[in-house]
């Protein structure tokens, strides 16, 4: 890991192509930089993109995950998955999902004959820190692709950086409609599902379990992801015939939610929907249960709580309070398809516990990018992007999946889960109620607007 700060193209390719102005300005930098002008002399298009591995025996990936802050545990799990993916790509270990992925262009000898190397960074779950870390990977370490993240704000911020810099970003955990909606980017890809799909998947299950005459009360984290989820769930439930009693925004990181929970008691609502994630969700759910909401009878029905987006780590934090609560998730380790089994097996053998949904998504994203390079026969981003766009694959844990070309959203099965009332082990926290087929959670790519932007930057 020696630093060769000046062997990388210091001037952006963009500014080089824009002509003299950029070169004069960069004169100071040029003095320090022997190789930058060389990019002109190479004639092949493939040589003109940022961080071209060229003749290096390795290709470098950047794994940008929260290592500090509230999502540090999730970030650690993501990092484990990435390391595993790198191992499998390089032909080490048991190969994991490389054995189940279809169609597969990868050969288990790295990518296009190059071994995969990686660098890591800390997003701190802050847009600024995440972008700074990503820029380090791009500018200093010379990564060809970077991936990671545990929140939509970070994903969107980093994704737009990817577009500016011309380096592909494979999103980690991000659930907001905006990521592949109004803030979609040509250089960003999302495997994770979105809030709309959560609503679409939960709808029929909610109808089966709770009927069509319900009165819902929303508590919503007061930022873009929360609003986007509230809207999606509201549309779904109102489509079922439910009435929305109230939607209340709560400050992020409020800690004590009691002042928002007590009004629910008198509202006449019989369902509480918590549009919270992470710590907020752990706290609001714990406190809602303490207020006895789940023991209540309203309108002759049992009071229910729904948490539209679940993760196993959150379930751990909420302890017993999660039992019996309905929600949706991208993936769960108890799935019995070949891909999931292969992944859980290699992850479990490597680390001694099952992977989280964030780990799964990060693992799959790495493999998908690698496979696209192999398909395209180059690391040149526009070609890789084209290979990923409209890519149909299977054997990665969510059934047959399409990487949609129009918005870079994966369309695949979504899981509706319930907090396990009777876990058989410390990891068995969520039981899968239904694997909702992808046809049911499909949506028009134009639904949320947005523009991908150009291939060439």
């Amino acid at each position: 890991m020696t630093d060769k700060p000046f062997s990388k193209s210091i001037l952006t390719r963009r500014s080089m192509l824009k002509g003299a102005a950029g070169v004069t300005a960069g004169a100071g930098a040029l003095l320090l930089n022997g190789t930058a002008p060389m990019t002109f002399t190479r004639d092949a298009w493939a040589a003109q993109f940022r961080n071209d591995p060229g003749n290096n025996p390795t290709v470098k990936f950047g794994f940008n995950v929260p290592q500090t802050g509230p999502y540090a545990d999730e970030g650690a799990d993501e990092l484990r998955a990435y390391l595993l993916a790198v191992k499998h790509l390089n032909g080490e270990g048991d190969g994991g999902m490389l054995n189940t992925m279809k169609p597969l262009s990868l050969k288990g000898n790295g990518i296009l004959g190059k071994k995969v190397d990686f660098v890591t960074g800390d997003t701190q779950t802050k847009s600024d820190a995440a972008r700074a870390s990503a820029k380090r990977m791009i500018e200093k370490d010379g990564v060809t692709m970077f991936s990671g993240g545990s929140s939509s704000g970070v994903a969107i911020a980093v994704q737009s950086l990817a577009q500016e810099m011309g380096v592909v970003f494979m999103c980690g955990l991000t659930h907001s409609n905006d990521t592949t909606g109004k803030d979609r980017r040509r250089y960003g890809f999302r495997h994770f599902f979105n809030a709309y799909q959560s609503g679409a998947a939960l709808g029929p299950v909610l109808k089966d379990e709770m009927g069509t005459e319900r009165r819902a009360y929303h508590l919503t984290a007061d930022y873009t992801w929360g609003w986007s989820q509230e809207e999606s769930i509201k549309n779904t439930t109102e489509g079922l015939g439910w009435e929305t009693v109230n939607t209340v925004k709560t400050p992020v990181g409020a800690g004590d939610f009691s002042q928002y929970i007590t009004p629910v008691l008198n509202s006449g609502a019989d369902v509480l929907i918590l549009n919270h994630y992470g710590k907020d969700m752990v706290n609001s759910l714990t406190q809602a249960v303490q207020f006895g909401l789940r023991d209540k009878q309203v309108n002759g029905k049992n009071f229910e709580i729904v948490v539209p987006l679940f993760s196993r780590l959150m379930a751990q934090g909420a302890g017993d309070n999660i039992k019996g609560i309905l929600g949706s998730t991208n993936w769960n380790w108890t799935l019995q398809d070949e891909g999931s089994k292969a992944f859980v097996k290699s992850f479990g053998q490597e680390y001694g516990f099952p992977p989280s949904q964030a780990a799964h998504t990060c693992y799959v994203q790495t493999l998908l990018y690698a496979n696209a390079c192999e398909m395209a026969g180059t690391f040149y981003p526009p070609e890789v992007i084209k290979a990923l766009e409209g890519f149909n694959f299977d054997g990665m844990g969510n059934g047959p999946t399409l990487y949609r070309a129009e918005d870079h959203q994966c369309i695949k099965d979504v899981l509706v889960v319930r907090g396990n009332a009777n876990p058989s082990s410390q990891f068995d926290l969520l039981e899968v109620v239904q694997q909702v087929p992808r046809s049911q959670v499909d949506f028009s790519p134009t639904l949320f607007g947005g523009e991908l932007g150009p291939y060439e930057v």
Binding site: Q259, L265, Q316, P354
Partner: protein, 338 residues
Amino acid sequence: MDSFLLQILNGLDKGGAYALIALGLTLIFGTLGVVNFAHGALFMLGAFCAVSLQKLLTLSVKVKDESITFFEAYKEVPYLEQWFGQTGTTIIEYSVPLSILFSIPIMLAIGLIMERGLIKHFYKRTHAEQILVTFGLAIVLQEIIKACFGANPIPQTPPEFLTGSANLGAWLGMGDNLVYPWWRLVYLAFAGMLISAVFAFLNYTTFGMVVRAGMQDRETVELLGINIDRRFTIVFGLAAVVTGLAGVMYTPILPPDYHIGMDFLVLSFVVVVVGGMGSLRGAVAAGFLLGILQSFASMNAVKSILPGIDQIIIYLVAVIILLVRPRGLMGRKGVMEA
């Protein structure tokens, strides 16, 4: 009417928590004059005393789940349950109340060590240096906890009979919706008791009187041949215990993680300053005032008129109070004004 009463209860409950945290800080910051940015860390350590005891009590036999072959999945049966049956289960159930006893000596020791080992040397240093060293300490403590317990919140449950809600409405004849969680009522009562105890200690014991005199005029007290240093150490320990207990008791309401202290740090400073530097009464009053105002600002009726008011109410009130009353609610002149 119900909702109004409930918000008052919420406010009192929140206020109790704020007051307890601020009480510890006001002893350290308002009276010893140390800008202690590690105060949140004391709260966090208290909460993790409860977590540690729970982990200790639930040390378990691991019964392997044979259906899973890739890694060790197991059901945990705590030794206590295995050895003592029902009694063991009950002991585990009472982990949080037991933590009170468990945490007092630990927090006292932490407080004493912190004061003797570090803070003592910083009484005469500038506030800037106090901030840097205590903030550094807070980060270090936090990271140690993270290394031991991870970053994820760890759920804590109160004893079975305190898990549900008290049906206040039925007692008062006011309808079914006036319910309030038992544990929050317990917290409120506990906060009241602890605050009274601290007041009684400082007001009615010789020790307390000497300390209060020393806070007013350190030199004179020292001239009387009293070793005020040692007493300040004990006050620091006391503050650590009070703050730690606030943390222990709060765990069933807010599953603790390593960052919980930082979340309360700013708030605790605001409460102390709004209450007025050097005033214990002020800190308690400000805690309850801010708690209640925050609860009311979160009511839908209020929010529909002033959107976002619940996000800023604490700070808005702080600004108004400090502009109307230059030294907070009950501050003493000349404390930390320069």
